[in-house]
């Protein structure tokens, strides 16, 4: 049995069982390894992708849950790192180890798509991804910078 999956604008026929978490379909099945495994319990946000434009932690959704939905991973955010969030991230050199940053960037892209000038409070409430390197000062600054770049 195959399930068709719309990822980054392309339709993939995948054969994993329907209860497989989306995270592992993306990583091991489609080899889209920019989306990371961090906790498996929707706690850290390393696996964040966009589904129909909104941030979702892909470890907590099954393949069956997302059939027919439009999924965007870090690889599909832009083809050339030109998304305003990526541009702000580059400008401020946000990543250290970088492992959490795909998820962080996707979460911020989702936030800015609905709120073009978020307050620090909005950011605190929405961006709950864990960065063990502690890049938070730069993440906050880069979110504000990305908001500027979007206007």
């Amino acid at each position: 049995m195959t399930i068709s999956l719309d990822v980054n604008g392309k339709i993939h026929e995948v054969t994993e069982s329907p209860e497989t978490p989306l995270l592992w379909v993306l990583r091991d099945g489609l080899k889209l390894t920019g989306t990371k495994y961090g906790c498996g319990i929707e706690s850290c946000g390393a696996c964040t992708v966009l589904i129909d434009g909104r941030q979702v932690r892909s470890c907590g959704l099954t393949l069956a849950d997302v059939e027919g939905r439009s999924i965007t991973t870090i690889e599909g955010l832009s083809s050339d790192r030109s998304h305003p969030v990526q541009r702000a991230w580059a400008e401020l050199d946000v990543p250290e180890c970088g492992y959490c940053q795909s998820g962080m960037i996707m979460a911020v892209a989702s936030l800015l798509a609905r709120n073009t000038s978020p307050s620090d409070r909005d950011i605190d409430r929405t961006i709950t991804n864990i960065c063990r390197c502690g890049t938070y000062n730069r993440v906050r600054a880069a979110i504000h910078r990305a908001a500027e770049l979007m206007t």
């Binding site: 990371k36 498996g40 580059a90 180890c97 959490c100």
Partner: protein, 733 residues
């Protein structure tokens, strides 16, 4: 005098470029020279300039977020006179010439290995990478001088070209590379003076940022090989227990599970994908024997108390003057005791590695801090000789000391050998949290003798806890290394209280005694970002605050009086006082605390500004950090490393900890081992004082002062003294 920095002398350069193939320059230590001559090893391309102009740089250090690839590349590029974007490739390379001399020194010669850790990468390679760049530049200039038949001083190097200053004509490095390879290697190429630096001291953009913002960076978890299988693991939950039997019937019933491989205290499940492997590991039923399944936190505390209170003297770490006599004749004394608890590394990338083992050779792809340990365990598992082992270092999704231990690499090797196919093993978060080598719990007891003005003039210290060097000891064959057993030194345990490498920044306390009483617990411990400074700085800087308050001396002034001979330290104190607004009016309900440390050639002070509500919830609003780290190669990277290390320190200081019950770890994921998130991250102001001295180590520097500065600020806020990390709500209400 910086003892560690003076060690990093790699004087030997070797040119292995063949005519027509461009310039290839390598550092040749003793063993690599032999290897190159015997033909078994090719000298790695530390810097290679090809006729097409491409420039490749081989890196001795793993990139785990600390920015070392960018930093070392900048150092080399500055002397070579190229821009960063002219570098076409940068790769971590495993090679004997890349053994880490400061690590060797800090372990009394025991660990003569390639390793990224201890914040010593720049201390180890700053000098040699400058010299490498300067050497290549001079050989290129020499080749241009010959080409144009002009004196070499008319050949100016800049931006990857040599320009004839008389005619304005220029040749690219690629065009000159083959001729440069025929030049004699200059023994002492001129190094730039600091006013000539173009990259050193500037905010060069990180070379790894592009790959880390588009998902293309390859970490250990991301390695994909043709025909690869996927593994997960399940350890015996109780430390010290071993597998008696495994019921794998449920695991094997899962479609896609391919193999179940039981080892002594862990089972590897190999499957068609990671998710199936993890499901299989969860489905195993383990019967185990051994281990102490009644061991708990209370037993850890009891053992540490027994060490501190008993008659054991332990290892004499420091004896200067006569502390006992000085204390007994002091005007007054204070006896103080502090403790820190177990903490996990919790790197965002869990332990993982991929391996492929055939009779012809063994390849390992791993996020590792020690290429040599990786090769050693590969030789052990495969029985292949060293030259058939190839270590490929991926990006590390965080290291913090955890990835100095090759336990997870062994598993990938065994699974690959058993199945005959490439296997990538990835630990679940629960396996990671429950089978880490944790920050060791420690107790520190200090007795201070005070003079008539209340300033300490004698200090006697007992340290009790398990040595974080244990996993390294195990790797080196299970024997206690001489730095502990014979010399009484365990640098990783004692640093921050007494640092045998240098007393440049220590407090001027004439009578000092430090004894370490090794205290074993059946819980694995290891190097956690900033090692022994966690317990030592917490104890010493909290004690200084207690003494200052008891003596009616301002805490910064007390440090000034104990550091009066150390101008760099005094500058740091002056600056932190001013930058933090120390003593000025703060927002209502805000209080400050401070701390000072000298660590790995860096002088540093921090001030924390906190508030606490009536339910004991602490909010850290701001941390001001002033650091003199010598020459800051890249101030932006220094700033981000300090900020990150402070967040790391915050994680070990507030609320979260690892608890032991029934011989095993209680916590299992980020829900019960919560890490700081953006919402609680304070504003972190980093002020870098550029003294122009040799660069120190900044990867860990920011971590150890967070605990004591926050605790000292909470004392200012509540009058309650914190004597154990992490700080709990009940400590401040």
């Amino acid at each position: 005098m910086n003892t560690i920095t003076s060690l990093s002398r790699r004087q030997f350069l070797k040119n292995t470029g063949l005519a027509g193939s461009g310039l290839l320059l390598g550092l040749a230590g003793t063993s690599s020279t032999i290897a190159a001559e015997s033909g078994n090893f090719e000298l790695p391309p530390f810097v290679s300039i090809q006729p097409d102009g491409s420039i490749r740089i081989g890196m001795p250090c793993s990139e785990m977020g600390q920015g070392i690839h960018t930093t070392l590349a900048s150092v080399l590029a500055d002397e070579l006179e190229i821009t960063i974007d002219q570098i076409s490739s940068l790769e971590t390379i495993h090679h004997p010439a890349f053994r880490n001399e400061p690590i060797k020194y800090l372990t009394s010669g025991v660990m003569d290995i390639q390793m990224t850790g201890g914040s010593v990468s720049l201390i180890a390679f700053y000098g040699s990478f400058r010299k490498m760049g300067a050497t290549a530049r001079e050989m290129l200039r020499g080749a241009a001088a010959e080409h144009w038949s002009i004196p070499i001083d008319q050949c100016r190097a800049a931006a990857g070209k040599i320009t004839n200053t008389a005619t304005g004509k220029s040749l690219g490095y690629g065009e000159l590379a083959s001729a440069a390879a025929r030049q004699a290697i200059p023994e002492n190429p001129p190094l730039k003076s600091p006013d000539q630096f173009k990259l050193i001291g500037t905010k060069v953009p990180r070379v790894d940022t592009p790959a880390k913002i588009d998902g293309s960076a390859v970490y250990g978890t991301d390695v994909e090989l043709p025909g690869m299988l996927y593994g997960a693991v399940r350890h015996c939950p109780v430390f010290g227990s071993k597998i008696d039997s495994v019921d794998d019937s449920a695991a094997k019933a899962i479609p896609g599970v391919i193999a179940v491989i039981p080892l002594e205290n862990v089972v590897i499940v190999v499957a068609a994908n990671t998710w199936t492997a993890m499901q299989g590991a969860d489905a195993l039923v383990l019967q185990t024997t051994g281990g102490d399944s009644s061991f708990s936190d209370a037993d850890i505390d009891a053992r540490i108390q027994q060490s501190l209170s008993g008659s054991q003297l332990g290892a004499p770490v420091a004896h200067e003057g006569d502390a006992d006599k000085a204390i007994s004749s002091s005007d007054s004394t204070m006896e103080l005791e502090y403790a820190v608890s177990l903490q996990a590394h919790a790197t965002m990338e869990p332990p993982c590695a991929a391996a492929h083992v055939t009779e012809e050779g063994c390849d390992i792809w791993a996020p590792t801090q020690t290429q040599d340990f990786t090769a050693m365990v590969a030789m052990m598992v495969t029985q292949l000789p060293a030259e058939k082992i190839r270590v490929h270092t991926t990006y590390l999704g965080g290291g913090f000391g955890r990835k100095t231990n090759p336990d997870y690499i062994v598993q990938a090797l065994i699974a690959a050998k058993a199945t005959g196919q490439p296997v990538k093993v990835t630990w679940s978060r629960t396996e990671d949290v429950q089978h880490d080598q944790y920050l060791p719990p420690f107790g520190v007891r200090l007795t201070a003798g005070l003079d008539s003005s209340g300033v300490p003039n004698a200090l006697s210290v007992k340290l009790a806890g398990p040595s974080p060097s244990q996993p390294m000891v195990a790797m080196m064959g299970g024997y206690f290394p001489p730095w502990l057993a014979e010399n009484g030194f365990d640098w990783a345990t004692c640093v921050g209280m007494f640092d045998f490498t240098s007393q440049a920044g220590s407090y001027a306390i004439p009578d000092l005694k430090v004894n370490y009483i090794p205290t074993e617990i059946p819980v694995p411990v290891g190097f956690w970002r900033s090692i022994g400074t966690v317990h030592n700085a917490f104890a010493l800087e909290s004690a200084m605050d207690e003494i200052a308050h008891a003596s009616g001396i301002d805490p910064i002034d007390l440090r000034r009086s104990l550091l009066r001979e150390k101008p760099r330290a005094l500058t740091v104190l002056d600056r932190v006082e001013q930058a933090s607004g120390w003593g000025s009016t703060l927002p209502e309900g805000h209080y400050q605390g401070m701390g000072y440390i000298y660590y790995l050639d860096c002088y540093q002070a921090q001030v924390a500004e906190v508030s606490v509500d009536n339910r004991g919830r602490t909010r850290v609003h701001r941390i001001t950090c002033v650091i003199d780290c010598g020459q800051a190669i890249n101030p932006a990277i220094v700033e981000s490393q300090i900020q990150g290390a402070i967040i790391y320190g915050l994680s070990g200081s507030l609320n979260a900890q690892i608890n032991i019950e029934n011989g095993r770890v209680v916590q299992g994921n980020f829900d019960d081992y919560p890490l700081p998130k953006l919402k609680i991250a304070p504003v972190i102001d980093v002020h870098i004082i550029n003294s122009g001295e040799q660069p120190g180590g900044i990867g860990e520097a920011g971590t150890p002062l967070v605990g004591p500065t926050v605790a000292n600020a909470l004392f200012a806020a509540t009058g309650k003294r914190i004597r154990r990390l992490p700080i709990r709500r009940s400590d401040v209400v």
